[in-house]
Amino acid sequence: MPRERILKGIAVSQGIAQGKVFIYETKHIEVFQTPILSVYLKDETERLDRAIKKTEHELRNIQKRLNYEIGENFAQFLDAQVMMLSDKTIIQKVKARIVDNKLNAEYVYHEVIKEYAEKLGATKDTYLKERVADIWDVGSRVLRNLLGLTHSSVVEVPAGSIIVAHDISPSEAALINPKSVLGIATEAGGRTSHTAITARALEIPAVLGIKGLIGRIGNGEQVILDGDRGIMIKNPSAGRIHFYEIAKKKVIELKKALSPFCELPAKTKDGRHIDISANIEFFSEYTHAKKYGAEGVGLFRTEFLYLTRHGSPTEEEQYHVYNALAKKMKPSPVIIRTYDLGGDKVFSDYQEANPYLGWRAIRVCLDDLDFFKMQLRAILRASVNKNVKIMFPMISNYEEIKRINLIFEKTKSELRAKKIDFDEEIQFGIMVETPSAALLSPHLAHQVDFFSIGSNDLTQYTLAVDRGNEKIGQLFDHFHPAVLQLIKQIIDAGHQAHIWVGLCGELAADPLAIPLLIGMGIDELSMNPGSIPRAKMVVRAITIPECEEIAKGALRFRTPLEIKRYLRRSIQRKFHGIDEVIK
């Protein structure tokens, strides 16, 4: 029995998959130069026409199969690809060269495409640089058709497969069928790549960025893909298989038990309603938010608009996304957070020694007002739907809020001057995620309409722990008493100023934390859509006075361990029917 091996990558889409490897190869196409006799030149140009026609047919077919909810952005690329394909100037150039140089179609076509790709690749513009991939995507289709090569397409993946590839082109990623594909593993890509977005939208486990994946895995091999831990297990041992089978079974059972809660309101046993909202990164995820019963989007992370296209989206592009999301979620609220760039969401061409303590989020925006105002305008314009709220990340001092407010008001009056409509009553909130903002929250509360506690960053900054650092990651614990004390102070400060307070970090989805946070008075909990049914189950099993008692008791402990033990015991004693989820 060959030894078990664990291949590490980046976890981009949750879940566990066990299946047969299907290697999706995009073979390098080799093109040779062949002289063509004059009498056959006409055949050669006709061959080109046929290949182009066939390619157009293929692209139109993709367009038909495309899942528009997922591939909205991609549909635009596809249109552009069809246009590139049928570009008359290029076709004429290729034909002229075939005839003049008496050479074969594939050689000449390849040459011409390469010239254009190189020209585009040489520009400084990142948007244009990305179009190079589109040109090659189309170009290779034509070349394969000229050479009579068959396509390896993800459409043909047999049921029960885990796709293993170097990379998956956007036009292929849009064709992945979640009924037959159990998981995706690639060498290239990261959290913001097209494949990652597609995998999350389809809820297929995916691990990307596995170095040296191809060559270590064979077609048809049985593997386990763990999209929670970001690993792929080759030759899994009997023990490992057993472990994952149990884990998978539990997940399925729990999902089944939780599914009725999607539809139910998040009301405590004694009738208090708690807002349960969804954190989302991409427009297409609104379908998950709805499916799992979110009562709104508590956090729309806009930086992914920036990251997926490696540059700033225009006002129109942003408006299009914000407006579409607001429309889909109506009348439920949508909280749009301005760019939280920097930190782990880095710019490709900028590095600094201490990114989490550096040029990040609101600090970046306040340094480039044109860039910032473009986003503010787009959000304001989308606010005509009356359900949009705006939120600013990484506030660490009072002056920042004053400045943002001035800029925001100025942007509003500029829109008014241009007679552009927006919601005059749009709520203006901030993320409280630095210890300084937490401690200043009594002052900050008078300047805003709501607080949203970012518990992940608040924990990291309060404890001075980078959770990504393997050596100290175990020190990261959002049940740390120092963090919980700050959270309590923030909630109290907000309520004293009569504003509502939400929480949008991972803590919001933790069944152990929910009774505690509700006992502290939290008004809204925003989390990954998949966690919502479980949170509702917890909310529906508890009562306010008992939660308040739990919260009061929790703040007397000294360590995260003591707090967790206390919470587990008191929840088990006071509430029933949720033992399974608080283990």
């Binding site: 635009q76 552009a80 570009d87 100037t89 290029i90 513009d125 225009t314």
Partner: protein, 85 residues
């Protein structure tokens, strides 16, 4: 023949959707349409050509329309370049 320099005022430059819109409209006219920037001339009916010009907002291009419907063509296409169509 109508030939005039035009400043690209379209927020996106002539990159993404405006480029395809430009080509789609240009194809509707019988006139020949060309765009010229920094001595490089491309057909206004070729998306790949236009993309390689890398027209950012604020750059100057020379738009030429020549043919029976050149007046209409120029008027329509100019609007896209100037970003108010």
């Amino acid at each position: 023949m109508i030939k005039k320099p035009i400043e690209i005022l379209n927020e996106n430059g002539l990159h993404a959707l405006p480029a395809s819109r430009f080509v789609r409209l240009a194809e509707k006219f019988k006139s020949d349409v060309t765009l010229e920037k920094e001595d490089i001339e491309v057909s206004g009916k070729s998306i790949m050509g236009i993309l390689t010009l890398a027209c950012e907002k604020g750059s100057i291009v020379i738009l030429t329309c020549e043919g029976k419907d050149e007046k209409d063509a120029f008027k329509t296409l100019r609007k896209i370049l100037e970003g108010h169509d």
